[in-house]
């Protein structure tokens, strides 16, 4: 993975000093709350319901074991001994003290980490596929470009105070796993007909209050121009995006208001001036950064391993874990492993200090000392030998990291919700837990098969509810918490937004509602259909009828 040189290190060190002084001035009353807010936000510090929340950047989800150990230490020393991995592939601490935040940043800087631009109205952490570099369907490893974008966007002076937050995702696979169409800018890398690296540019996608899929504004952009083209897009947005209404301020609203064609014309007119300007990426720079993402020093292994096959045959529990949590790899004899942070009874994405240390050890022992955070809020060991999988599984199990539920109903994406977040209308974690408890039979879960349930505690959509096969959104009705249910959302190349099935439900009704949706699916599915396929074939009506039929009867 990328390693800092002197220049990178100097920037994070200077940031710590700058932020330390800003915090000092705030605490001394020299900065008002309004003046300090954007400063602390651009360093990831929210003032939350009970305490500040600090969001630490994990650029494009890559972590070293050393960094994860440090995160575990920080969680113990400055927080309550756990952290929350978010859908932006970042780590959030829920209970740090404002006064401690400069020290936390100083500790992070010692392991080449920071919290720069993890919040606020600026370019946020660049995200990508958690299987970048190892996925068999990968065309281009997008991580070098993600790092180049990270550096370019860090303290970009022109885009330091945008109308609203700005999220960029990059992807280099046939099957999009980075949800590029749900980002302010999505860069889809591919190899063009001349065998050159090129980019498809999507703009104006987003979840949140007004979920919308992005529009493709350029089919073919040569990679050298990635930065200048993004500058053209963001400049048009910075100058013309709405600043009068926070709910209308995202770029998607501007793209919609102008129309994608007009927006594209404005970007192209701007880019005509920026094309080939000094921020154009050089071959040498791409090469330099690419070096950090070269394939690991893999052993030459056969595609099969006898001890692995034997373990599968003799241990059904291991076999079911492999089925759900082990993923294909480019290199013969290797696999990627998802360590589930979604066991029943734990807030999705939460990891304790002990678990972070344990995962760091596992990464050192089995996966070249590196790991990734997925936007589904799990941890990934990307380069594990087939012959090591059984031993890894046994150790992961001891630490509660081997729940074989990846991609199943209990692998719920969930924001921190009303338990922690001051924006939330409703709690989300207890809903996830109640649903997980309703479906605690593993055989049944496997029978239900692939399904994604996404829960957000408010319109801002941090839990990506609008692209959940089942999406659950917390809403506020007369001061009490209700949940609106949608079905048919999906991430990926054939992304779609879910349709709301009807009036919202009380918290205690939610496990039953999900159960009824599943009942309809089980009754109606054809042998090869996943839940989402059945919803797409039948539409919302039969699901709606069954869910609300029950509701009416019970209310009589």
């Amino acid at each position: 993975m990328y390693k800092y040189d002197k220049l990178d290190q100097q920037i994070v060190d200077e940031r710590v000093a700058q932020y330390r002084d800003q915090t000092r001035r705030f605490l001394a009353g020299e900065l008002t709350e309004d003046e300090f807010r954007p400063l602390r936000l651009q360093n990831g510090l929210y003032i939350q319901r009970y305490a500040p929340m600090l969001r630490i950047a994990v650029p494009y989800g890559m972590l070293s074991s050393k960094q994860l150990r440090k995160l575990g230490d920080i969680a113990k020393r400055y927080d309550k001994g756990y952290g929350h991995f978010s859908t932006r592939q970042n780590l959030q601490l829920n209970w740090p003290k404002l006064e401690d935040s400069p020290d936390i940043l100083a500790e992070l800087a010692t392991v080449e980490m920071h919290a720069i631009q993890t919040s606020g109205n600026c370019v946020r952490n660049i995200t990508t596929d958690q299987f970048a570099g190892i996925a068999p369907d990968e065309v281009i490893d997008p991580r070098a470009m993600a790092e180049i974008l990270r550096q370019w966007s860090t303290f970009h002076p022109e885009f330091a105070l945008l109308p609203r937050k700005f999220k960029i995702a990059v992807s280099g696979t046939k099957q999009d796993r980075a949800v590029v169409q749900a980002h302010d800018i999505g860069l889809e890398f591919y190899t063009d007909t001349n065998n050159k690296l090129a980019i498809r540019v999507w703009v104006g996608g987003g979840l949140g209050r007004t979920p919308i899929l992005g529009s493709m504004i350029r089919e073919h952009l040569e990679w050298q121009h990635a930065l200048t083209y993004c500058e053209a897009i963001i400049r048009v947005y910075n100058l013309h995006g709405r600043r009068d209404n926070i709910f209308k301020a995202r770029i998607k609203i501007l793209v919609k208001a102008l129309g994608a064609d007009e927006f594209r014309d404005q970007v192209e007119a701007e880019w005509a001036h920026l094309k080939d300007s000094p921020n154009t990426i050089t071959e040498a720079e791409l090469k330099r950064v690419d070096k950090y993402f070269e394939p690991m020093p893999y052993e030459k292994l056969p595609a099969h391993n006898a001890s692995f096959d034997a373990a599968i045959a003799s241990s059904p529990a291991f076999a079911s874990w492999v089925k759900r949590c082990v993923h294909p790899h480019k290199q013969p004899g290797y696999r990627a492993v998802t360590l589930s942070l979604k066991p029943t009874g734990i807030a999705p994405g939460d990891a304790t200090t002990e678990q972070m240390h344990a995962v760091a050890d596992l990464a050192d022992e089995y996966s070249f000392g590196e790991l990734r955070v997925s936007h589904e809020q799990n941890l990934i060991l990307a380069d594990v030998k087939l012959s090591d999988l059984f031993a890894l599984w046994e150790k992961a199990r001891k630490h509660g990291l081997a729940t074989p539920n990846i991609g199943l109903l209990t692998d719920i994406i969930c924001c921190p919700g009303g338990d922690f977040c001051s924006l939330a209308n409703a709690k989300s974690i207890p809903i996830a837990q109640a649903i997980q408890e309703q479906f605690d039979n593993l055989d049944y879960l496997h029978d239900i098969g692939d399904i994604e349930i996404n829960i957000s505690g408010c319109m801002n959509g941090c839990g990506h509810h609008s692209v959940g096969h089942i999406g659950i959104l917390g809403v506020d009705k007369d001061g009490s918490e209700w949940y609106q249910v949608s079905i048919g959302g999906k991430q990926g190349n054939d992304a779609s937004l879910g349709a709301v099935i009807g009036p919202s439900f009380a918290a205690e009704e939610m496990p039953g509602v999900v159960q009824r949706l599943i009942d309809v699916y089980i009754a109606e599915r054809t042998p090869e259909e996943h839940f989402i396929d059945t919803v797409r074939r039948l539409g919302v009506a039969p699901f709606k009828a069954y869910v609300y039929a029950e509701k009416e009867v019970s209310h009589v």
Partner: protein
């Protein structure tokens, strides 16, 4: 005591302000509001300065003056003499666009100073305006930020091409000077230095 920071040959210092900023008189028109804030963005196409305001703007008879863009455009005949003696600069709101300004002179460098008024420090349009004036339109003279100008935005203002900063009256310009040096080697090329770090240094792999 002046609250103006000026950057000269890379060195910043607090200097006396030789320009009188001419303000627009208050408008009698009710501003159209939406969600509590004034709607002032291009999509509405609204003209935010009225003809009455422009006519009522009081222009000092002597000295160097910074006038609102709308006043310069509407009262050009009256002001042209001052421009020719180097006594006239213009200032813009962050929601104004540069096309009318550009069309009003054969070269922007006729103006010894252009200023941008930022009503709220969080309004980042000022950075794009500065960048465009410097990089697209080649403006070479003093570029000033005034209004809600605070030290924590100075580094970005400098990088966006601004060379003078009138710090908000209730804050210390001396304190603010320090923030111009927050970062030694920024990553990306910008208006003050167009060359990105990967072209300034040979960054070898460790």
């Amino acid at each position: 005591m002046s609250n103006l920071i000026r950057l000269m040959n890379g060195e910043a210092s607090v200097v006396a302000d030789e320009w009188q900023t001419v303000a627009l008189p208050a408008s009698n028109e009710v501003e159209r509001k939406q969600a509590g804030k004034v709607v002032l963005f291009k999509l509405t196409g609204e003209n935010s300065v009225s003809a009455e305001q422009i006519a009522a703007t009081v222009i000092p008879a002597n000295g160097k003056i910074l006038v609102p863009l709308s006043v310069w455009l509407a009262r050009k005949d009256e002001l042209l003499g001052r421009l020719n003696t180097g006594e006239l600069g213009v200032w813009l709101h962050t929601h104004e666009t540069l096309d009318t300004l550009l069309a009003s002179v054969d070269s922007l460098d006729k103006f010894p100073i252009i200023a941008v008024f930022v009503e709220r420090f969080a309004d980042g349009r000022i950075f794009s305006l500065g960048t465009l004036l410097r990089t697209r339109h080649g403006f070479k003279n003093e570029l000033r930020a005034f209004g809600d100008v605070l030290r924590d935005q100075l580094f970005f203002l400098k990088r966006s091409g601004f060379t003078s900063y009138l710090i908000r009256a209730d804050r210390s310009a001396e304190d603010a000077l320090k923030s111009l040096k927050d970062f030694t080697e920024p990553y990306q090329g910008a208006a003050d230095n167009p060359v990105p770090v990967f072209k300034r240094y040979s960054r070898s792999n460790a």
